[in-house]
Structure formats: C-alpha cells, structure tokens
C-alpha cells in the first residue's frame, strides 16, 4: 500500500475547513466522507486521525461544535465553521495557491528556459 505523505496529513485541517465552508455544518463522519470523495480515496484509511484535528481546530476557535441528530437519528457532534475559521481559511487558501503556483512554475521549468 502506498504511504500517505506528511504534507497530506498536515493539510487535513485545511481540507476540513474547506469542506465545512462549502457544505455547512457536518458531523465527523460526513467530513471524512467528503474528504475521501474529493481526495480520491487518499484518506480512505485512518479516518480516525480526523478527530484530533477537529479538536485542535475547535480549540483554536476555527470551528465550533454542538450535538445534533445524525441521518440515522442518533446523537452526533456537528461541526461548523466560525468567523475566525473563515478568515483562517481565506488566508491559508491564499498561501496555498501561492505556494502551488511557485512549485508549479518550478516543475514547468525546462533546461532551455534557464540557459
């Protein structure tokens, strides 16, 4: 099995924020499902690692949580993005885009471009 990269793990928090931004309040499983779908099964295993990340984000005030009822009518914890989380998401999105653009440019470089 292919090893997941650390970068992916580190970006989990960003994915959580983006998911909540797009889809509104979700419970942990819902978030995991969306991330799994979008990331193309990259997060298929070790879904549990999501929970420490959720806790950290909540402690930082980027998301808030409350109890609600899940689709099978059981008690579930629903997470939603806070105003601070939205600000954080914007800042990090900007940062990521910048980084990605720079890395992209580096990857596009061919030997003749530098001569």
């Amino acid at each position: 099995m292919k090893q997941k990269t650390d970068v992916l793990q580190g970006t989990l928090a960003l994915m959580v924020l983006k998911t909540l931004d797009v889809l509104g309040p979700l419970h942990g499983y819902g978030i995991a499902r969306r991330i799994e779908q979008i990331s193309g099964d990259l997060l298929a295993v070790n879904q549990g690692t999501l929970y420490p990340v959720l806790l950290k984000l909540e402690q930082e005030g980027a998301i808030a949580s409350e109890w609600g009822a899940s689709e099978n009518n059981r008690r579930a914890r629903f997470y939603r993005l806070t105003r601070a989380g939205r600000v954080q998401l914007q800042a990090e999105t900007h940062g990521w885009n910048q980084t990605a653009a720079i890395i992209g440019r580096f990857f596009a470089v061919k030997a003749e471009d530098l001569s």
Binding site: Q47, G48, Y51, Q59, S70, N72, A76, R77
Partner: protein, 899 residues
C-alpha cells in the same frame, strides 16, 4: 494569540477530561455506525461491514492517544502524575518526608526571619524622598577620626560648598518639657535652618520654621513629633494654643511631623538651633551634620568638595582648627554603622545553617536513591526517558522544599512576631521588620534554589551508574551503592565542618559575653537605683555663678536628705552622668597640668599652655559629690575624697582615678598637683588633686578603665552639659523605694520629670545587642548541631543496614561485639575527624571577621576551638553509637539470610 487561546482551552479541558473522553468515544461509535450502515448499503455482509468500518477508522487506541495529547497539557499532566506519585511515596514513607521537611523548614525559617531583619535594617531605603541623596557629614581629624562639626566650620561648609542642595546641623539631648498633659524628660533636637529640607520631609500639620525663628534671639518655636503630639498634646488640631516650656523658655508649637518621621531617632520635638547662639568656635564639635547632595553629584564628589573646604579652614586657622578633612557617608550606611557587622555575621551563620539543612536532606535523598535504584531501573526499562526520571526527582524535591518552605515561613512569621521582645533597643530601623513582599520573595527564591539543587543532585545520582546493572544485580550486590555512600560521607563531613564554624562563632561570642558581664566595672552594680532628672540650670552659659550654685546645692541637699530618710535607703550620692550606661556620651577632654605654673587667665592662655604636650592629659570629666564614691562602692586608694571643707569659696579640689595617676604621674605622687580642666565647665579655677580613687570602666565594660577626673559639684556645679543623676544603694524592693522617691521629687520639684531606673536595667540595655547576637548565633549553633547529629546518624544507620550481611559474616567468623562496635563507630569517628579538621581550618579564617565583636578573647582562642571540637566529636560518636549498638546485637544467622 491563537496559541494562548489553545493553551487556556487545554488547561480547561484537562480539568474536565473525563467528559471529553466520553465525547470522543461517542463520536467514534457514531462514526463507525454510519460507516457500517453505508457499507451495508453498498452490499457488504453484516460482519464484514463492521470490520471494514473499523479497519478504515484506524487504530482506535492510537487515535485516542493523539486526541488526549491534543486536548490536555502533557507536561502539566505528567507533573501532576509525578506529584501524586510523590505524595503516595511520602505517605508510605512518612518518616523520611517529615524529617526532610522539618529540616528544610528550620533552615528556610531561620534564613527568612534573619533576612527580614537584614532587609529592614540594611537593605530597605530610608523613608525619605530620594533618600540615597541624604548623607551624614563629619569633620575628620588628621588621624582619620570623625568628629561632629564645630559651629564656625559648619558655617564655612554650608556657605562655600557647591555640591549640596542643603546642609544642616543638629544636636539632640534630654530636656524637661512641660506644657503638655504632664511634664516629661524627653529628647529634644536643636536643628539648623535646612534640616527638614535636607531630609525632604514636610510637617503633617502646621509649618516648618521661618527665618524670624532661625536667628539669634528670634521668636522661639518648636515642631513636635507625631507621637508627642498624640500622647501629650491630645492631638489638638489648633496648634496656636500649644506651647512647650523647656529649660526656662517657652516655645509655641508651629508644626507636627508625620508619624513615620523619626530623626534623630526618638526625638519628641525640634527647635531652631539658631535661637541660642553659641560662641563661634572651630574646635567645639557640637553639631552633627546632615545634608542632601545636589542632583547629579556623587557622594565622592561631595566629599572631595568638603575636603577642599576643610583643608582651606586648616590652612587659614592653623592650630585653632583640629580638622584637616571631611567625611561624607550616605545616611543609611551611617545609621547602621557597627550593626552591619553583627547582622552580616548573623546572615552568614544562618546561611551556613541552611547549607547544613540542605546537606542533610541531600543525604536523605541519596539514601533513598540507593534504595530506589531497582524501581528506577524498572521504569527506565519500561521506556521512561532520562528526562522523565529527572523530572520525577525534581518534582519530589520541589514538593519537599515547598512544604519545608511553607512551614519555614510560618516559623519565620512567629519568630518575627516575638523579635521585638529580644531585639536590642538600639538597633536602628527595627520598626520596619516584617514578613513583607520582599522577604517572601527571598523565601521563595531560597526554596527554589534549594529545590532545584536538591532535585538535580538526586537526579544526577539516580542517573549515574548503569541502571541495567542495578536491575540485573541481585539484592546482595552493593557495588552500585558504594559511590552513593561515599558521597553521603562527604556531605556529612561538610556538615560537621560547617557546624563547627557556627559553634566556634557562638562560643567565642558566648565567652566574650561571659567575660564582659563578669568584668567588674570598678564599682558594685547591684542594688543601685538611679534617678535622672533635670535641675534648673541657668540658660545660655555653662559656668555656674555663686547664686545659681547655692540654689542648686540647696535643692539637691533637700532632695538627698529626704531620700536618705526613706526606710531601706543605705547611701545616696549625686553624679553628673552614669558611668557605663552613658558610655559614649560621657564628656571628656584635655586638661592642663600646671606644674607650679600660674593657672591660665583666659582660654587663649589655656590654649597656649596646651601646646606643650608634656603639660596636658586626656581624661573624662565627672561631677560627683562625697556620697557618690560610697554609694557606688568605688574605693579610695590614697588621699581623701570630697569633704565638708570643700565649698564654693575654698580651693577647688579633684579626685583622680588610679589609671590616670599611673598614666600621667608614674612613680610620683599626684596628690597636691594642680590641674586645670576649665574647658569642660567654663571655669578656669585650678583644681588641686586630693585623692586617688579606684578605676572604673566608665566607657563600657569592653573598654579598659578610663582616666577620670572627679570634681565636686558643690564647687563646680551641675552645668548644662551634665545629666544630673541621684544614685541610691538599697537592698529594699526597688518599687517601694521608687514610689517613696517619686513622692519626694513631686513635692520638692513638682515640674521636674524624673527618670527612675536601676543600674542593672541600664546595663541590660547596654548589653542587649550582644545578648541578641549571642542568642541567635547560639540558637543557630544548636540547630546546626542537631542537624549534624541527625546527618551522622542517618549515614551510619544506613551503612549498618547495608552491611548487615557483612557484619553477620564477620561475627560468624568470630568477630567480637566490641569489634563490630569499633567498626561501625569508627565510620562515624572518621567522618567526624575529617569534618572537625576541615571545620577548624575554615573557622580560623572565618572567625577573624568577627573579631570586632569579641571581648577579652582572640578570634582564634585555642580553648574554644578545642572545646567545640571535643563537643562535636562526642555528639558524632553518640550519633553513631546508636546504630552501632544495633549492629552489635545482630544475630549472625539472621544477618546471613538478610536480603
């Protein structure tokens, strides 16, 4: 910001952790349920659906672990864990904890209490604005001796300097003050114009003196202290109706100083010194100088400035002036003076005591470390990092130190509350002694230093050596412990050496004290009642005229006759000052030996004759009457004492002390010699020596007998420089005598306050600071001795336990009990021996620092050293005898099986 918030949330969540765990469990459950449901929907069989869900979720325990790490504060949690563990250990082993905590409490408590005194007396700044700028100023003689300032010199200093914002002179002395609710004899200060400005203090009520009150024969005015105002003036708010009368003049009260203002210490009122001008003089050193240096000027610069002026005065006036330099010292330093040495010695002693208590606890920790090597090895084997083990030790020693520190602060608090009872009255600034923030900070600092050093020490010992070996080695192996035991030996040797230093110090002080109180002052101290009062003395002049003198004699005769009639009164005498008790304040000066020359006609003449050193002598000037010698019990050596024939009109006579006779007239008979001591009482009538009296240590018991010239008050009078005192010898109860005497004074001199006392009380005050120092150093010495004994006992007892098997083998092989005793006690004796030798070497260096506090004994007094060494060795042997006794009774069979 974000991380702070996170920290706070974590701190919060770590408290309600159980709730959080529950939440996670529930979320996981829900997650798995939803996943399983989805899997079922995707067509998986039921059992597979759940399995896949769990697989996909990942390792639950690992996630829980991460989650926990995320939500709490691991550092604080392990700390709390360590704390709980520590407390459990202490509860299981309370003896160790109690001994360690008590030991530290003694050390920290003593250090804190001592520091509170040092802080108040030496460290805290004076209660005046910009107090570091306030200085005391002296004239300095060519021999480096500091003198108060003479009026004319002071004027020059004041007008010619360019470094002082203000410079003032003051003097204080007892006066009888009436005008308040009752007449009292209190300290009154005469102060020059800039006095209050120099100190930077304004009156609480009213005003400072104005220029009309600060000129010769100006309007009298007085400023009173808060205490006097409260006690004798009923805190009256309308000052305009308050008047004080003292020494025949009336002073309207113009101001009241704030309650904390107490300078010079104990003064009840201040009056302008300019009101009663004295003759201009460059050698009458009457004024204490105080000043405030200008902003941006250092004390050294101010001193250089005054030195220049002093040299100019010397050049200009030559023989008339006896200064050639000036001294300038910050007021705070000047106030504490020689107390500093005593306090620093106390601080040193208490520091050593703290060191000993730390060494003791370190020894205890070491013993426990050896006992816990296995536990540590197991923990290390189970994956505890070295840092984690060190943390455990730090927590343990922190717990011990904080418990000891808290108890120590309690001890210090109660010590400080009883301090006023034992503190010498002459210790300056003692009102400020309290357990305040800076003292607590000191205690906290001491606790932390102790905790960290003990913790690191224990951790270092625990981490030293191979833990694996400890684990694999059976209980029969001692190899790992040998180093620890050696180290404990070193600690105990250090303790013994330190204890010896403290004990030697205490013994030197103690023997000095014993010598001091067993030194005969030259008279009988017991059963002497003193009555100090003030006689009507003519204002503004020192010499007594015939009429004033007759009046005085009449009054004193009346009083003494009545006093003699009190039942139980043996003898009554009159003195111009009390020897010993008045100590430094006794008047002394230069007298002329006339050798058949004509007596000086005036003071210029006096000064001219005084140029010839062979014709002068130095002596105390004592006013007495014929009853004085008998009452005091001063023997007549030769000639006669004062008698009926000596009257105002007859030739004036003097009795001199034996030491003066020996000094100035060796191998001659001084009786019949003519001398002149007119500079003391402004009366140039020569004195004929008629008798020699026994020596008196008038300056204090720690000084050699002073040369004294006694003059008869019936001829010379009680002048303004005297503190008239009637002394009575009686073995009747003091209270009764005082009551009767009080009535007599009240009847004959209703407005004159009298201070009754006994000579023993006056002496007690004089000895108080020595007694205090001795008491504390002695106490520290005893504490140190006890700690050292515990230390020795601990090491030897532990070693006996450790060597039980060895002892068993020795006994099985035929060793006698006495051999075992020798073996064990020998261990203690070796440590004691090395400790004592080191201690003696250290003491030889250290006790030198206290030689200024010793009397009649050298700082390296061999007898003291030997006694202390023997005492300490005996205690060491006794402490090691107890475990040795136990070892002697070891049953070889049990011992061999001992694990």
């Amino acid at each position: 910001m974000r991380s702070l918030r996170r920290f706070l949330t974590r701190l919060f969540t770590s408290v309600k952790r159980r709730q959080q765990e529950e939440r996670l469990r529930e979320e996981i459950e829900e997650h798995l349920a939803l996943e399983t449901a989805d899997n079922l929907r995707a067509g998986m069989p039921k059992s597979e659906a759940h399995r896949q869900a769990v697989l996909k979720f990942g390792a639950v325990e690992a996630i829980k672990e991460t989650y926990r790490a995320e939500q709490g504060l691991p550092f604080i949690e392990t700390l709390l864990q360590d704390l709980r563990y520590t407390l459990r250990m202490f509860l299981r082993n309370p003896g160790f904890a109690v001994v360690a905590i008590l030991t530290l409490a003694v050390g920290i408590g003593a250090a804190t209490a001592t520091f509170s005194v040092v802080d108040a007396v030496l460290l805290r700044s004076l209660p005046y604005p910009n107090s570091q700028k306030i200085v005391r100023v002296w004239e300095q003689a060519p021999d480096g001796h500091r003198m108060n300032m003479a009026g004319s010199n002071f004027d020059d200093f004041r007008t010619q300097n360019n470094t002082f914002a203000s410079l003032a002179g003051y003097e204080d002395g007892l006066s009888s003050v009436s005008g308040g609710s009752e007449p009292v004899r209190v300290d009154i200060a005469a102060v020059s114009s800039d006095f209050f400005k120099a100190l930077g203090v304004e009156p609480l009520r009213g005003r400072v003196f104005v220029s009309d009150e600060q000129r010769p024969h100006g309007t009298p005015a007085a400023i009173v202290s808060y205490g006097y105002w409260q006690r004798y003036l009923g805190s009256a708010t309308d000052l305009s109706r308050l008047h004080l009368s003292m020494e025949g003049a009336v002073y309207p009260v113009v101001g009241v100083m704030p309650p904390e203002f107490d300078f010079p210490a104990g003064v009840a009122a201040w009056i302008p010194s300019e009101l009663n001008p004295e003759l201009p003089s460059r050698s009458a050193h009457n004024w204490r100088g105080i000043g405030r240096v200008r902003d941006g000027v250092t004390v050294a610069q101010a001193r250089a400035n005054l030195s220049t002026i002093a040299r100019r005065i010397k050049q200009q006036y030559g023989k008339e002036a006896d200064l050639d330099d000036a001294a300038v010292v910050p007021l705070a330093d000047a106030m504490v003076g020689d107390v500093r040495t005593a306090l620093l010695i106390l601080l040193g002693a208490v520091g050593l005591l703290l060191l000993i208590s730390c060494a003791n606890v370190a020894g205890l920790l070491l013993a426990r470390t050896s006992a816990r090597r296995k536990e540590l090895a197991v923990r290390a084997a189970l994956g505890a990092s070295r840092g984690r083990l060190v943390q455990q030790f730090l927590v343990e020693s922190l717990t011990l130190s904080f418990a000891g520190g808290a108890l120590g602060i309690l001890i210090a608090t109660s010590a400080v509350s009883i301090l006023p009872a034992i503190l010498p009255a002459n210790l300056p600034r003692q009102q400020g002694i309290a357990i305040n923030a800076s003292v607590l900070l000191f205690a906290l600092g001491a606790v932390i230093v102790v905790a960290v050093s003990l913790g690191l020490f224990a951790a270092w010992r625990a981490a030293a050596g191979d833990l694996q070996e400890a684990l694999s080695a059976g209980s029969r192996s001692y190899s790992g412990e040998g180093a620890g035991q050696r180290l404990r030996g070193f600690l105990v040797v250090g303790e013994i050496a330190t204890t010896l230093v403290i004990l030697v110090g205490a013994c030197l002080l103690g023997r000095s004290f014993m010598r001091l109180i067993s030194t005969s002052p030259g008279f009988r101290q017991q059963d002497l009642i003193t009555m100090e009062f003030s006689l009507p003395i003519p204002q503004g002049q020192v010499a007594m005229g015939a009429s004033a003198l007759t009046h005085q004699i009449h009054l004193l005769d009346e009083i003494t006759t009545r006093l003699r009639a009190i039942p139980g009164a043996e003898t009554v005498g009159v003195a111009g000052a009390m020897p010993v008790a008045a100590g430094d304040d006794l008047p002394d000066g230069l007298f002329l030996i006339l050798n058949g020359q004509k007596p000086p006609a005036n003071f210029d003449d006096f000064g001219r004759i005084a140029q010839n050193r062979s014709q002068t002598g130095q002596a105390l000037y004592a006013i007495a009457d014929r009853g004085y010698f008998r009452t005091m019990g001063i023997p007549l050596i030769r000639g006669r004492l004062f008698g009926e024939e000596d009257s105002f009109d007859s030739p004036n006579v003097a009795v001199i002390s034996e030491s003066l006779a020996r000094q100035r007239w060796p191998n001659q008979n001084p009786i019949g010699q003519m001398i002149d001591f007119g500079n003391m009482d402004d009366n140039l009538k020569p004195l004929t020596i008629v008798g020699i009296a026994g020596d008196v240590r008038a300056r204090g018991l720690n000084f050699p007998p002073s040369p004294i010239i006694y003059v008869d008050y019936r001829q010379r009078g009680m002048n303004a420089n005297a503190s008239p005192t009637i002394i009575m010898r009686s073995d009747a109860p003091t209270g009764e005598i005082v009551a009767s005497a009080h009535d007599i004074f009240h009847e004959l001199t209703p407005n004159v306050p009298v201070k009754f006392s006994t000579f023993a009380d006056e002496m007690g005050g004089w000895l108080a600071d020595r007694r205090f120092l001795l008491l504390l150093v002695g106490l520290f010495g005893v504490a140190a001795l006890a700690l050292a004994a515990v230390g020795i006992y601990g090491v030897v007892a532990f070693s006996v336990t450790r060597r039980t098997q060895e002892i068993g083998i020795r006994m099985a092989l035929g060793a006698q009990r006495s051999d075992v005793l020798r073996l064990v006690v020998g261990e203690g004796a070796r440590m004691a021996g090395v400790g004592v030798v080191l201690g003696i070497v250290a003491s030889l260096v250290i006790t030198r620092l206290m030689s200024s506090l010793l009397f009649g004994i050298s700082a390296t007094d061999p007898l003291t050293f030997v006694c202390v060494a023997v005492l300490l060795s005996l205690v060491a042997l006794a402490a090691s005898y107890i475990p040795a006794h136990r070892a002697m009774r070891v049953n070889p069979v049990t011992a061999l099986r001992y694990e």
